[in-house]
Symmetry: C2
Subunit: 313 residues, 2 copies
């Protein structure tokens, strides 16, 4: 196969787009794709300060790399989840990436934020699925870091496969509220929130992996050990089978949803404006934000256990 742009020998074949690219043209295609998505969806401008959530995986590091290449003002944010060796290797990877490029990086660690706040500890003490506990904590620290650092935008590395799997899950249960908010750009619903954007939302996992490989970006290949058997992976598997039989399925599913169906659900989006959490001051729909609610639950469980272990109890 020949490169669709320059007719040199192609190194990568994108079945969904019926296109092939040599290495330089692929990198150009990827960069342009991200640049166009940012402009089309009005994600941010070169004047704005962008906080990029980086996990150490290919998607978030590819995103950071391409945003730096396009000349945007970026700062990385790494949140240590405390998931054993996986978290150790993720942190090292992110720190090396930032150091090699002299990029600013904010590192926060759940275990340092309070006793018993590492993901596995919270999951055990609150009897939650680890992914649920992790999601709630990530959201809180991402929001808080963006607000405290005075950033204009929070960017995440969600790719087409993530978005298609999420859309399939939302559609299988027709969760109108979730469908009304599944967009590549989410405007803040409170002055302490910042705009959230997903510049890779139409680039597949395969495309970001090829970009990271061609750019020589070292990334953590292993999946989070908690992800195994997660529903999200089931949806990805189902979509991958449909994609194999009919290339372009995922892209059409997400793109056509945003183009012609998402607006039908957006009427539902008139949610209450959040108040502020009595504990941390971040936006909250009740007296406490869901993070502080979780922290209180962990503290209660710890206090009970300590009381039970006290001599004479």
């Amino acid at each position: 196969m020949k490169c669709t742009r320059c007719k040199a020998k192609a190194e990568v074949h994108l079945r969904a787009h019926n296109a092939g690219f040599c290495r330089p043209c692929y990198l150009e295609y990827f960069r342009r794709h991200v640049e166009r998505a940012i402009a089309r969806e009005r994600m941010f401008t070169p004047e704005e300060r962008i906080l990029v959530a980086v996990s150490g995986g290919k998607d978030s590091l590819a995103l950071w790399d391409v945003l730096v290449g396009l000349g945007y003002q970026t700062t990385g944010l790494y949140l240590g989840l405390g998931i054993g060796g996986y978290s150790d290797r993720s942190r090292e990877t992110v720190e090396e990436f930032a150091a090699a490029r002299a990029l600013p990086l904010v590192v926060r660690t759940l275990a340092d934020e309070g006793p018993g706040l590492a993901v596995p500890d919270v999951a055990v003490s609150t009897r939650r699925v680890p992914c649920a506990a992790c999601g709630a904590m990530k959201r809180h620290f991402f929001d808080a870091a963006a607000h405290e650092g005075g950033f204009d935008v929070l960017a995440t590395g969600h790719n087409l496969d993530d978005e298609a799997a999420r859309l399939l899950g939302n559609v299988l249960r027709w969760q109108r509220d979730h469908l009304s908010r599944q967009r590549p750009v989410l405007a803040p619903s409170h002055p302490k929130f910042v705009r959230k954007v997903k510049p890779l939302y139409l680039l597949s996992e395969y495309e970001t992996a090829v970009y990271a490989f061609m750019r020589g970006i070292p990334y953590v290949v292993e999946e989070c050990p908690n992800a195994e058997g997660a529903t999200q992976l089931l949806y990805k598997d189902a979509l991958n089978r449909l994609e194999a039989a009919s290339p372009g399925t995922k892209h059409a599913f997400v793109k056509e949803f945003l183009r012609s169906a998402q607006g039908l659900f957006a009427g539902d989006a008139a949610r209450d404006v959040p108040g502020e959490c009595q504990q941390c001051g971040m936006p909250a729909y009740g007296a406490l934000c869901s993070f502080c609610h979780l922290v209180r639950e962990v503290e209660t469980k710890r206090a009970r256990r300590a009381a039970a272990e006290r001599p004479g109890a």
Copy 2:
């Protein structure tokens, strides 16, 4: 496992409903389910005459059987598609079913309706996928037979698996026009059309198979030979995998769509009222209905071939 209704030994386990039934209770459950669907969706009344499209498969024969048991006025309609031995065996099965119960049956055969109209011939001469040619012809003959016979309703045996697969296909491409019409009851858009209903739309393929087995209904087990590799089967396979991991997925997908999302697309349903086909007089959006358009295409191809084969041509 014990029967959810009478505590006897269960013969069938419905994971999606977390229920088990002995044979008599299962038959009762199935009948009641159909009866409630008919009433809830106002499909038809005991005073109305129902034309039941029967293919010889488990779904349509189970439907006919249960409607007769519930006391409705039914007539069967079998359309011979001309798909070799499969069609021969289907016709025999349907004729034996009707004869054994002394039920009225209308039989029509595509090959008798005009030269070259059997499904395989049309597919070859018009270079269509067989399923596309078959669908257009079935729709025409079902509509025409219902109109000519003065029936009030046309009932088909589409089950939950059919509806879920169709919904997934429509959603993957966000075909708003199709989504606006995917309902268990379709009101006629022209005086020559009759109401179309799907009383089994929330009963799974497994449930109709169990009903047909328990009632001792002989049915054609083989799939149509054209169906192999059809997209619909891919969608069914994907949904079966999701159902296995999370029983009830298909039921929730279809039911919740109808309950809370279908109305959002229904705004699109303001279609033009059809006129009448210049050829056959049935409703049509252009000068010819899609069936007569297909017939004309077949005739043109046949005439061209005959001219080419004439001596001296």
